[in-house]
């Protein structure tokens, strides 16, 4: 079947929304893992039947699930994600040393180069890798052991590694982002990591040229231009055209440049989307209007996309991993809200419809394009 599969992680289970290419009629399955927090679900780009799910649990810790049949059935894989060696400390909110403590997997990133390889970004911030389809995990410890690691501080959501991007040209090049340490790049498969935060400005950092300490909320890239990255920072929308060597602000005419997710159009590398949020205190859209903003110029010039979205009395948030795209000829854009709605646009954002209205709080959205 040609179509899309939308993987929705929520506070009380996972849901799978499936449609054909028209994206008008949806089949909804779930809740998968009912009652459980599903932080993230993501499918393999190499094998769409292979889907992964992160299920952290306040009582029982982290669980990892794998489906080999497109989400119809699930099996538990290894949940033994152990920091490598001495864990040491990072900084707590008040600047005091705080022991590194594993809490949950925020993001699962299946390799686009090898079906058996999957990366996991976790809180407290670290990067793990499985090379055997989730049967075992190894930390890539050079990241946590970076010379700046003991100075990393958590953001409001914790010290979380929430974003992992892969360079389609080179399996050894990865980008990651940590709240509130910043963005990092590896060019050697995780043996060494380079902070890539030059050009970022953050009012909450006394030293504006600090190598780390920026609260990066999300990163995105287009596979045809992997040296160009877009960033939604705590405040500010940024871009780099040098693989992170230098960032420039492209917030332009946004009504607020605070927000969480950022995505790039599947076929237009300079078309990007954000959802402005009023501020880090309010965590809801300006004026109670849910507006996606699209820039067709890689930033600076933004247009509000409102057709089909509530334009009054809307006070939901859109979390950092809760926006995604499909790669059908007419690119689809999807996002989920903390109010349990999943909105979809089958026309690059011009018009929107709610696929579902009443799910639990949406934590993540990933989309698979099926052919």
């Amino acid at each position: 079947m040609t179509g899309v599969r939308v993987l929705v992680g929520t506070a009380k289970g996972g849901f799978i929304l499936t449609s054909d290419e028209a994206r008008e009629n949806w089949d909804i399955s779930g809740p998968h893992f009912p009652g459980a927090e599903v932080y993230h679900m993501k499918g393999s780009a190499l094998n769409p039947d292979l889907i992964w799910a992160s299920q952290p649990n306040d009582w029982f810790g982290q669980l990892v699930h794998r489906s080999r049949d497109g989400g119809q059935t699930w099996e538990q894989v290894s949940n033994e994600l152990r920091y490598d060696g001495e864990t040491g400390t990072h900084q707590w909110y008040d600047g005091t040393p705080h022991p590194w403590d594993f809490k949950r997997i925020w993001h699962l990133e299946p390799s686009i180069h090898d079906e058996n390889v999957i990366f996991a970004g976790v809180e407290d911030a670290a990067m793990f890798k499985s090379i055997d389809g989730g049967e075992s995990w190894q930390e890539l410890p050079a990241l946590r052991n970076h010379s700046t690691g003991d100075s990393w501080q958590p953001g409001a959501g914790g010290l979380c590694l929430h974003t992992i991007l892969q360079d389609p040209r080179d399996p050894d090049r990865l980008y990651i982002a940590i709240s509130a340490a910043g963005a990092f790049r590896t060019d050697d498969g995780g043996e060494t990591w380079l902070p890539i935060n030059k050009g970022l400005r953050s009012d909450y950092i006394p030293d504006q040229d600090a190598e780390v300490g920026h609260c990066v909320h999300n990163l995105a890239l287009h596979p045809s231009r992997p040296d160009t990255l877009f960033m939604q920072k705590h405040w500010d929308v940024m871009r780099t055209d040098s693989a992170g060597e230098l960032w420039t602000e492209v917030s332009g005419n946004l009504p607020s440049d605070f927000g969480f997710p950022i995505v790039v159009h599947a076929h237009e590398p300079e078309t990007i989307y954000v959802v402005p949020i009023l501020s880090d205190y309010y965590h809801y859209p300006p004026e109670g209007k849910l507006r996606v903003y699209r820039s067709r110029s890689g930033g600076n010039e933004w247009e509000a996309l409102t057709a089909g979205l509530p334009q009054e009395n809307c006070y939901v948030n859109i979390l950092r991993d809760a926006m995604s795209i499909d790669t059908l000829p007419e690119c689809g854009i999807y996002f989920g809200t903390t109010g349990g709605q999943v909105y979809a646009s089958a026309d690059s954002g011009d018009t929107w419809n709610a696929i579902v209205h009443d799910l639990p709080k949406v934590l993540s959205i990933e989309v698979q394009t099926l052919s």
Binding site: W59, G61, E80
Partner: protein
Amino acid sequence: MIRVIIPSQLGSLSDAPKEAVIQVDGTVTPNAILDALEVTYPRLKGLLRDNQTRQRRPMIRYFVAEEDISHADPDAELPAEVASGKEPFWIVAAISGG
């Protein structure tokens, strides 16, 4: 044989029954019971004790004969009633977490 009461909140997360009956070789301690449980029911690994530290998870508690022993030494010998199976070793999940 040792009787172990498993938290009901585990539900389908593990293949353990509500009351497990296990054998512990050597001194019967909380950690020895957990070790034996994890051998019999491998999907319990990491759920009741942290994978990294092997410490009891914060929202899990241990009881014997209605006494909370959660904060006792997990390698200390348990009463003979547990080893004989007269009293179960209760693993309780806190009223939280959902």
